[in-house]
Subunit: 329 residues, 2 copies
């Protein structure tokens, strides 16, 4: 199976990603922006989520389409990133039309990167400006690793990061994933360098190390020392025409990518969640078979994106963990 041209979530036509980061604070924001509003759903599986505008994504709620989705560092302070994105969209005249006003619909989620070696002694919450800057930077190309919402991310043994991947399915539908990997668990098997996601690697998109040959005791996982400094947040997207209910199901299936790429995942101390986005450009011709394949592809792209994010992380002053490249590259 082939990846899209960029092997990024922006291989889904009509979607762009913008990012902004503050290397001094060691944090940042990633925004998924649609050329037009897109249908979205969400599924939360972690025990410690931080979110905004996720209730409206339930299939029985009135608004079905959103203007952007935001992933941010900063724990609950990072929720302001979505406010910055909403202000920026308002300035462009974009949003849900209500009584002559337009209200941008911008769900968002955060990860905890407040204890990662960065200078957190800011006087004014920086996330609103970071959100607006990320929106302004939106394009089809964007950086992986230490970038955007992955700037300050960590995992059990290695620096975390921002990952993405895509695939073109036999039906012609494109599926992509975007993720900021800040897991309590580990993306590598034992002491590495092999990734848990290795069975799903396409080409050598995260180093081509292959599947591990030595396996640790599965019941004694490696975890981050600080049990509260976690959360992996992600988005899967497609050009298929999906309802909000079908997006919800795609988001649910995509969590299998977390389970396969991170050990442990979905812990009480992770706020793990996944948004799903559908631009609606390409109708389903066989809904049963195609929604099955879309969900599966979303899970696989998510596992690949997680490994790519950790693999691409770059060193910075004050890092609490080595990068994959500095340890194994």
């Amino acid at each position: 199976m082939e990846t899209g041209a960029r092997n990024l979530i922006t291989d889904v036509a009509g979607l762009r990603v913008g990012q902004a980061q503050d290397d001094h604070v060691k944090t940042g924001v990633s925004v998924l922006l649609g050329d037009a509003p897109f249908t979205a759903g969400v599924h939360v599986m972690g025990g410690a989520p931080g979110t905004r505008e996720t209730d409206l994504l339930a299939p029985d709620k009135t608004v079905e389409q959103v203007d952007a989705l935001v992933l941010s560092g900063g724990s609950a302070f990072g929720l302001d990133a979505a406010s910055g994105v909403a202000d920026g969209l308002r300035a462009q005249g974009r949003g849900f039309a209500v009584g002559g006003q337009v209200v941008p619909i911008v769900p968002g989620a955060i990860l905890f990167d407040l204890v990662n070696g960065g200078d957190k002694d800011w006087a004014e919450n920086p996330y609103k400006a970071l959100g607006r800057a990320a929106l302004a930077a939106a394009g089809e190309e964007f950086a992986l690793g230490t970038a955007g919402a992955g700037t300050g991310a960590t995992t059990a043994q290695l620096k975390g990061g921002l990952g993405s991947a895509s695939v073109v399915l036999p039906s012609g539908h494109v599926v992509g994933a975007l993720v900021a990997v800040n897991a309590l668990g580990s993306a590598i098997v034992g002491d590495g360098p092999e990734f848990w996601a290795a069975p799903w690697e396409t080409g050598e998109e995260f180093g081509g190390c292959g599947v591990a040959q030595a396996w640790p005791d599965p019941h004694l996982p490696v975890t981050k020392l600080s049990a509260h400094a976690n959360t992996t947040i992600g988005i899967v997207a497609t050009d298929a025409t999906l309802t909000q209910a079908q997006c919800t199901r795609m988001a649910t299936a995509a969590h299998d990518g977390y389970a396969r790429a991170l050990v442990p995942s979905h812990t009480p101390m992770d706020g793990d969640l996944i948004f799903a986005a559908a631009t609606g450009a390409k109708p389903l011709t066989n809904p049963v078979a195609e929604t099955l394949m879309l969900g599966h592809a979303a899970a696989i792209c998510m596992a690949r994106a997680i490994a790519r994010g950790v693999h691409a992380a770059s060193e910075a002053p004050g890092d609490p963990f080595p990068t994959w490249a500095s340890r194994f590259g």
Copy 2:
């Protein structure tokens, strides 16, 4: 890490499993029974569930403890199995006391095994009697493979089955899993014989074939031909003292075991769900660290139980798929 003495969910003291099956119909029932009522939660992730009494398991609902949990074949007809169990418990004077009456609390879930080579031309729904017979058979030892709710189960390439596994954690808590594997997806990698769950195998509990060395294109999974004849239903259990909310979180984490042992899993055509049960015999001393480990152990035990169930399946007349043993044994 050591398994419990039996490597079964009944290594959790105070829990018993009873099973009954009809080999002519190719279906059956498995019951998890507590010596005393136990706390329970549930998390549903598949797109096509069939359930009874799952709403009361939500942490905000009044009843926190149940008398038994039932896994059954038979699609929606199989929900009658829980009725048979409830009648049997009533005859024993067991249940939730209300105004001088006792009402047994028996949540249950079903899998679809109506197209598996069995004779489905019954005049009277057989599941109530099967449920009552399973209850009467409850003990600490029980059969794996083609037994109980796994009697008529199938997977993408092989006969499915009833699996179980356990582990004793460093905290002293015991965790176990019970599962009826009837997945749309496959438990083996490519053409096998290696299981997806191989990295998690303890000893040679499902054949000791090790981890696959050749990996299929991840985006082209093998799936069952009949897209509606699916659903994997399971239970994880512990002797820890957990609230209903903590049981819910343990059930959620345990779904990672499905993701790791079955590809694809959690599809729109699977009713995948997991119950969690806690007898409460052993309090938590470090709730943050221990709930994390309980959830992780539940996921690992579930992955192991899935592989054990498929590995242990035995041949029977009219089977639509070979067993693992007949193909690789």
